[in-house]
């Protein structure tokens, strides 16, 4: 995967073996560089992908070489991300499934709570619907008396 640097054209070219880095890994790595440089991807012989990296501004040979090396690192990063995602696929499904299941109405009730099937929606056993003034009217009087 030796990058070839063409400083005159402000270009670095890398041939990536698709057997080592699948195509979606190469595309994901390229995506991470879109804000820093211009990228072009194309098929190359022997199941390779040709990645052309062009500086948005004029870059020196060293800078182009560094950019190419950073791209190679990003390829590894994306490959590992993919492998971890594949390995933890089942676990993620379980976590999301559990989260959705526990969010279903009726399932999240506290243990020991009595079913309140006979209640009407107009019932107010805790007195929540009673206005504050009505509820504490007498209490205020008592405080004043004391």
């Amino acid at each position: 995967m030796n990058p070839s640097i063409q400083a005159a054209n402000n270009l670095a070219r890398i041939q990536v073996d698709e057997k080592l880095f699948p195509r979606d890994v190469v595309v994901s790595a390229a995506y991470m560089f879109l804000d820093r440089c211009y990228l072009r991807l194309e098929k190359a012989p022997k199941r390779h992908v040709l990645v052309q990296i062009k500086g948005k501004k004029k870059l020196s040979k060293n800078q182009l070489s560094n950019l190419a090396e950073e791209f190679e690192n990003e390829l590894l990063h994306q490959l590992i991300r993919r492998q971890v995602a594949e390995r933890t696929d089942g676990l993620r499904e379980v976590i999301v499934g559990r989260a959705l299941f526990s969010a279903e109405p009726g399932e999240g009730e506290a243990e020991g709570a009595e079913p309140q099937e006979d209640m009407d929606y107009l019932d107010d056993p805790l007195g929540i619907a009673v206005p504050w003034e009505e509820k504490y009217k007498d209490g205020e009087k008592e405080e004043k008396d004391q």
Binding site: V27, L34, R40, L41, K54
Partner: protein, 85 residues
Amino acid sequence: MAKKKKKTSKAGPRKQSATLRLDAAFYPKAALQKAREAFAHLAEIEIRRQGKQQVIKFGRMSAAAAKKLPDEFANYALSCAVVEE
């Protein structure tokens, strides 16, 4: 009789043209269409499939746009391809 004004933008007259060739395996048609919509105000863009390549012709670009437009177009199309995957 009033003379017709030539169509110019702040960046100068729009006379430049360019051609961009992209690998169809990496740049699907839908992504290229999205990019075309995004850059339609800067140039006349024509997309055509030619074998395994997508050929994009830019016409009526200003000189300022011509320097960057094909590269920016390719970057944008690639990002659309990733997002739509």
